[in-house]
Subunit: 237 residues, 6 copies
Amino acid sequence: MRPSRRAPDQLRPVSLERGVVKYAEGSCMVKFGDTHVLVTATLEERLPPWLKGQGRGWVTAEYGMLPRATLERTRREAAAGKQGGRTVEIQRLIGRSLRAAVDLEALGERQITVDCDVIQADGGTRTASITGAWVALADCIGWMKNRNMLKANVLRDNVAAISCGIYQGTPVLDLDYAEDSEAETDANFVMTGDGRIIEVQGTAEKTPFSQDEFLALMELARKGVARLVDLQKLAVA
Amino acid sequence: MRPSRRAPDQLRPVSLERGVVKYAEGSCMVKFGDTHVLVTATLEERLPPWLKGQGRGWVTAEYGMLPRATLERTRREAAAGKQGGRTVEIQRLIGRSLRAAVDLEALGERQITVDCDVIQADGGTRTASITGAWVALADCIGWMKNRNMLKANVLRDNVAAISCGIYQGTPVLDLDYAEDSEAETDANFVMTGDGRIIEVQGTAEKTPFSQDEFLALMELARKGVARLVDLQKLAVA
Amino acid sequence: MRPSRRAPDQLRPVSLERGVVKYAEGSCMVKFGDTHVLVTATLEERLPPWLKGQGRGWVTAEYGMLPRATLERTRREAAAGKQGGRTVEIQRLIGRSLRAAVDLEALGERQITVDCDVIQADGGTRTASITGAWVALADCIGWMKNRNMLKANVLRDNVAAISCGIYQGTPVLDLDYAEDSEAETDANFVMTGDGRIIEVQGTAEKTPFSQDEFLALMELARKGVARLVDLQKLAVA
Amino acid sequence: MRPSRRAPDQLRPVSLERGVVKYAEGSCMVKFGDTHVLVTATLEERLPPWLKGQGRGWVTAEYGMLPRATLERTRREAAAGKQGGRTVEIQRLIGRSLRAAVDLEALGERQITVDCDVIQADGGTRTASITGAWVALADCIGWMKNRNMLKANVLRDNVAAISCGIYQGTPVLDLDYAEDSEAETDANFVMTGDGRIIEVQGTAEKTPFSQDEFLALMELARKGVARLVDLQKLAVA
Amino acid sequence: MRPSRRAPDQLRPVSLERGVVKYAEGSCMVKFGDTHVLVTATLEERLPPWLKGQGRGWVTAEYGMLPRATLERTRREAAAGKQGGRTVEIQRLIGRSLRAAVDLEALGERQITVDCDVIQADGGTRTASITGAWVALADCIGWMKNRNMLKANVLRDNVAAISCGIYQGTPVLDLDYAEDSEAETDANFVMTGDGRIIEVQGTAEKTPFSQDEFLALMELARKGVARLVDLQKLAVA
Amino acid sequence: MRPSRRAPDQLRPVSLERGVVKYAEGSCMVKFGDTHVLVTATLEERLPPWLKGQGRGWVTAEYGMLPRATLERTRREAAAGKQGGRTVEIQRLIGRSLRAAVDLEALGERQITVDCDVIQADGGTRTASITGAWVALADCIGWMKNRNMLKANVLRDNVAAISCGIYQGTPVLDLDYAEDSEAETDANFVMTGDGRIIEVQGTAEKTPFSQDEFLALMELARKGVARLVDLQKLAVA
């Protein structure tokens, strides 16, 4: 029995709300249960120096957590003077995941920066961030289309992400914090709307796992992502 | 005529919503028009080293801004590796302002950290932060009272803050960004519920101002703070 | 009775000595009693990037304190790897105060950097710094005039600053450290030669103060600044 | 045809040389073709603060690259003043991977720090590091056994790692730099001696991949790791 | 002919003024011509962690330069966020030089920190700093003796330093900036009152030098240091 | 009797191996007994900004130590976030030493960066670094000559370095760690192939030393450097 009484293949209540802040070209408040992330997408007519003059654009991401998004207060990274290893790892993952579905040539010589700021954290902040980031990105691209800034299609497909894990011997979908801190194995899957894999990260938190266990997790993830993609389509419709 | 068509002594629509995040001992989402700040208050049973063993507690504040709280994206301070001068100035002001109304002996050897994170900025983020921080602090102290952690009254009085300025020759209350960027003079007033002054900061943005002009601003501030204190009382009732 | 036996409206002995270092375009050793600050003004034919090509110049300030300017040794900020919040706050104040009296168009596309380094601190280092900084700035502008580098008048007026506070119930002028550490209220006033206000900062160190108390402090400040402006005029004559 | 003319399931020449530096309790020079990593294991009778008094030890890792390990000189991270995101990601992976095979209770309240310094990089530095790190760790644990410092078995199993990828449409094992920079998909597998999975990281560098493609990579990895584990056993025999 | 018209073995006018700041236990304003350094010595009843409980004290030094001590303004190290290589090198040299003449056991478990801040720089700031630092140190030790804090003699001998160099083919003593920037060879000598060597640093700025040239410089230095030691004795008498 | 049973004027076994890494334009593994340093020389067609357009090139050096090069593990400077004072001092020395023998005009507008990374440290890492750095530099210049990139001779002479010290009353050559940590006096000499001095650094570790003692050390150094220069000539032949 999961602490939240969910079925093993059941997501938490998910909501994806577009257009939640005033200034950003794209934005989304994404909620996976008690995990809430505010995502904004910023369009800028400039590129990192190493990319200039190649006829391609860039999509990058930054990730942060408000100090009291967590059960105990976490030190503010700006005050600590640097981003922690976990932060760096997550924001690199978000950026890579989005770029896999973006036609950078079609974007043109521009940069879109996606900021994911966790307002409240109850497990799965990176998967919620990626899922919401795609909506904010789509929102931003819609903004550009409305201004006739794009000639071709920039977004090739949807991108969504979900975590799975083996909790008390059973493979379960979309771990919350109570499960995550107890799980034997934890895996994050980033997939496209057509069911292909962009990124897989599986980690044995306690004991190494077998290939069969891994495939069971991948099967759960496939279902979860399909559901998230449906919700994304509703959100941007 | 003000860009927002407000009367010179009219606040923007203000809301103060308590209990907006799950984990914090106290919290408040404060809105002064399009300026939105999420404030949390964290209680910790520890003190900065220089304060240990003196029978007194401490209240401190940190301030941050989400990168796309602003019209153009601002660089994330955690990525830049340090807090800017403006951030440091504001968080020191918030901490000082709150401490002026707190009985640190009655608090006991504990620290309350108030985090003010600007979700959207349209002028007056420091005054909104202080006004909302008092509510989050009161919320946190209520939490302590419910657990019988306090013997005496900790909060001596309300604390609220408002900006005033001279815009196109006229003293006006609660400047939004459109006014603030054009104002000749800008002043922030932090006051108590009984109308006394905790902090005054007046700056000639363009040309120096006279004592009479300053007094006109102070008069406006007095009215504005009185209104904010009424709203605080409703919020914590 | 003040610890220094001064009358409530009496400044400490003030001296403003120009031309105290060999290389700087302008310089001033300012002493407010035992508070000694060495100020230099550096002219450079370059501008911060965000100001280039606008036909205007810039005046900025930096502030520092020698480690043993204080009763107990203070950690060297260069060794700590960053400037503290108080330092940042003060140097921003000095820069803003000077710019309020400078015609940046008349200065032309050049930058003047004012460095205020506290040799010995006995309260009031920021007000002494501003008062001395104006002399160093005037010295630097004189240097430029002697070289026919300026067509119009750059300095619109004098700028001087003084602190006031309520010490044992009495409003007093120009607090030294013994008073400052005991004062109920502390305020700094930056004013022009013609008596207008550039910056006001009033802080309730212990208990909030009334408007009448504040006005009494402002009255004292007006007298003190007038006296400082007289001394500045003598210094640059 | 692979640039190195290897068969799709062929490793580069691998060598694992123990005891290569004088002072370390364990060490290994690992070479995967032209990728050379010097690994040392340091035993210290101290623990990170958050782990003290729990009857368990700790294994952690740090990773670095000599500036001219690469085709073009890379900036020295010590001079840049911080470790880059890629470095942080890799050293966290190495530490997690080793801990999955270590009985931390049997280790006792001690820390082993594994340092992986890349002398020359030709792709696969993280997988070579993990594979060599296990040898240095085993070497260190042998050193402890020789001094009767351990009562129980600390190392539960071997740990080795290998990369796979889809290069010009074909799944291949152990990518060198020429392949890695061209591969459509890149995955790293960390596995135990008995064939279970510790960590899987698969990334679509260019286009998302299917589940079948992923399973083909996993099959290759299984073969490669089995071969590496055989070489580890020879090295520590 | 030297630019200053001095004889080859002639020092610049040297002054060593004790007791120049109010709070420090020891202080000295040292001038070698236009090179002016303010030195303070701070006594603290604490030690660096690695020295605790060994019955010995410590003497250390820090060095800094005011931004406009130089012909062109130098960036403030506190603003740059770190001490430059030259600063670190000089402060390590000053500390080592002083410790060579101090009986650390006789000092007891205390630390003396010597701060050397260059007010104006015209070459030879490190030798002026060392020479003045010895006076400030002696001043501080006198302060301790007056309070009966010392049982044995702490200062074993004088320590003074001077630079020499080969300028236009001639060995000269005490280089000023005009000479230093043109010298073929530059050497700094730190010596005791009885003529022994504490530290020698000789550098070929342009072309390598012969042993005979080096011995000529050492001979000049011996004379210069003897003169400086006489002046130190006068200063502390 | 020296711990290593060497004669007072006997070097440790020295080896200088060229071409030890794949990518660098020049490289050398230098060993002075158990002190091993990997040196690479990187040629880049760019210059530091302050040197551009002057028709001259630049040679600079960086120095680092692997964490377990030492008896006890040293903290990684990249993780500490800065290079320590000793590191900065040594890399500045290496750069200055090499430049004294390089014709920067003949090099042309290019930079050579020499990286010295200590693999194992047993005393004398800076002298081994300089001696090996000259070989890597010569290797790099050979690489340039083979590509007809140079018109004139760039290397004017050999540069080698050795330490000497007074160990148990006797002047000895090439101190290892056991001697260095006990020596009364420690001196490093950097000399050219024709016996002239580039840099001398002598430090009284315990008690000041006499001129005669210093001359005895210099005599030993002269012999040692002559032997090292012979070995360099063999290495680059």
